[in-house]
C-alpha cells in the first residue's frame, strides 16, 4: 500500500494559506501576552493626549512611621489592597495570596501597599507586629489610613472599603488586589481570594516590570 502525497490531495496554495493563518494566530496570541497592560478607570482627552485615571495624591504613615507618598514610590510599581489585622473572613486569604506574589517575584522594584481600614484598632505598633509575625520584607508598607480619607482613597483604587457594624469584624470591603504602575495608573486587578486570578496576576506583574524596562525605548 502506498500513501497519497499531501500535495496531490490539497493544492499547495490551500496548504500555505492554512499554515499562514496558524502562524498569524500564534503571533497574535503571543503579542496578547507580552504587550502593554491595559489601563483601568476613566480616561480623558487633554488636547491630543489621552489621560488615564490616576491614584489621588496621598501621604500615609506605614508600620515604621515612615511617610509614604506617591513620590516616595517613584521608580517602583506596587500591589495595593485594603484590609485590617483583626479581619475574620477574607483578609487572611488575600494576605496569603499577597505573600505568594512576594515569594514569586523578588524584584525590588515591586512594593506592597496594604492599607488598613481599621483606624481605631490598627495602630502603628500593631501594624509593625503584624508585619513581623508574617515575616514580611522591606518592600511591604502596612499603612494607616485616616478615617476621613478612606472613602476617597479606596474609590481612587476603584474598590470599596467602609465601616459597617453589621459586617464581620465591623468593616465591609472587597478583597481586590490592584496593580499600580510608576505613574499611579491602575494596570491590573485580581480577586485576592481566587487562586487562579492571583496566578494570572503574577504574570501581569512580570509583564509590567518588563514594560518598565522598555518604557523609554
Amino acid at each position: 500500500m502506498h500513501w497519497p502525497k499531501l500535495s496531490s490531495m490539497y493544492s499547495k496554495r490551500t496548504l500555505s494559506i492554512v499554515l499562514l493563518l496558524i502562524l498569524t494566530s500564534l503571533i497574535a496570541c503571543k503579542k496578547e501576552e507580552t504587550g502593554p497592560l491595559p489601563y483601568y478607570g476613566q480616561t480623558a482627552l487633554e488636547g491630543t493626549d489621552t489621560v488615564y485615571h490616576q491614584i489621588i495624591p496621598f501621604s500615609l504613615l506605614d508600620q515604621d512611621s515612615t511617610v509614604v507618598t506617591n513620590a516616595s514610590l517613584q521608580g517602583q510599581i506596587y500591589v495595593a489592597d485594603f484590609f485590617f489585622t483583626s479581619c475574620p473572613t477574607i483578609c487572611p486569604v488575600v494576605k496569603q495570596n499577597m505573600i505568594k506574589i512576594a515569594e514569586a517575584i523578588s524584584d525590588n522594584r515591586l512594593a506592597f501597599m496594604a492599607h488598613s481600614i481599621d483606624h481605631r484598632r490598627d495602630s502603628i505598633p500593631r501594624l509593625l507586629s503584624y508585619k513581623q509575625k508574617l515575616e514580611l520584607d522591606d518592600r511591604w508598607h502596612l499603612l494607616e489610613v485616616p478615617e476621613d480619607e478612606l472613602e476617597e482613597l479606596s474609590a481612587s483604587y476603584l474598590t470599596a472599603a467602609y465601616e459597617d457594624a453589621s459586617a464581620p469584624g465591623g468593616f465591609d470591603h472587597q478583597g481586590n488586589l490592584m496593580l499600580i504602575d510608576w505613574d499611579g495608573h491602575i494596570r491590573s486587578y485580581a480577586d485576592g481570594t481566587d487562586r487562579e486570578q492571583v496566578d494570572d496576576f503574577i504574570k501581569k506583574i512580570k509583564r509590567l516590570l518588563h514594560e518598565m524596562d522598555h518604557r523609554n525605548e
Binding site: 489585622t85 483583626s86 475574620p88 473572613t89 477574607i90 487572611p92 486569604v93 494576605k95 496569603q96 505573600i99 503584624y130 513581623q132 509575625k133 508574617l134 515575616e135 469584624g169
Partner: protein
C-alpha cells in the same frame, strides 16, 4: 424492588466518589482561611493545627475555643503566637461534634473516641467566661 434500591445506591456511592465529610466542609469553610486547608498555619500569625501539641492537649477545649475565640500569647509546638482569634458563631452542637471528629482524624492521630453532640453540650457547659 429491594435490589434496585441497593444497586442504585451502590452506583450513587461509586459515582460520587470520595466525598468531603461534613466536618471537613465546616473546617474548610470556617477555619481554613486562617489555619489553611491542611492546618499548617500562616507563618507567625496563625498557628498550625496539624500535629500540634496544643491541639493534642486542649482537644476538649475546642467547643469553648470556637464559641469564644482566643486571646493572649500561647505556645504551639514551641513557637509563640499572640493574635486574637475571633469567636466563630453559628455552629450547632452537632456541627462542633463533626468538626472535632474531622480534626482528630485529619490533624491528630485519629485515635480518639467519636465525639457526640451530647458530649459537646457537656463540654460547652464547662466554658469559662472567656477562653484564655
Amino acid at each position: 424492588m429491594r435490589w434496585i434500591i441497593g444497586m442504585s445506591s451502590a452506583i450513587l456511592l461509586v459515582s460520587c466518589g470520595p466525598e468531603q465529610s461534613y466536618g471537613e466542609q465546616l473546617y474548610q469553610a470556617q477555619c481554613a482561611s486562617c489555619h489553611l486547608s491542611d492546618g499548617s498555619g500562616l507563618r507567625g500569625l496563625y498557628p498550625p493545627l496539624y500535629q500540634t501539641d496544643y491541639l493534642q492537649e486542649h482537644f476538649a477545649d475546642l467547643p469553648c475555643i470556637i464559641e469564644q475565640g482566643m486571646e493572649g500569647p500561647i505556645l504551639v509546638n514551641g513557637r509563640e503566637y499572640d493574635q486574637p482569634m475571633p469567636a466563630i458563631v453559628g455552629f450547632t452542637d452537632a456541627d462542633i461534634a463533626n468538626l472535632m471528629n474531622y480534626l482528630d482524624d485529619a490533624m491528630l492521630d485519629g485515635k480518639r473516641q467519636f465525639v457526640t453532640p451530647d458530649q459537646v453540650i457537656e463540654l460547652r457547659q464547662g466554658c469559662k467566661d472567656s477562653y484564655e
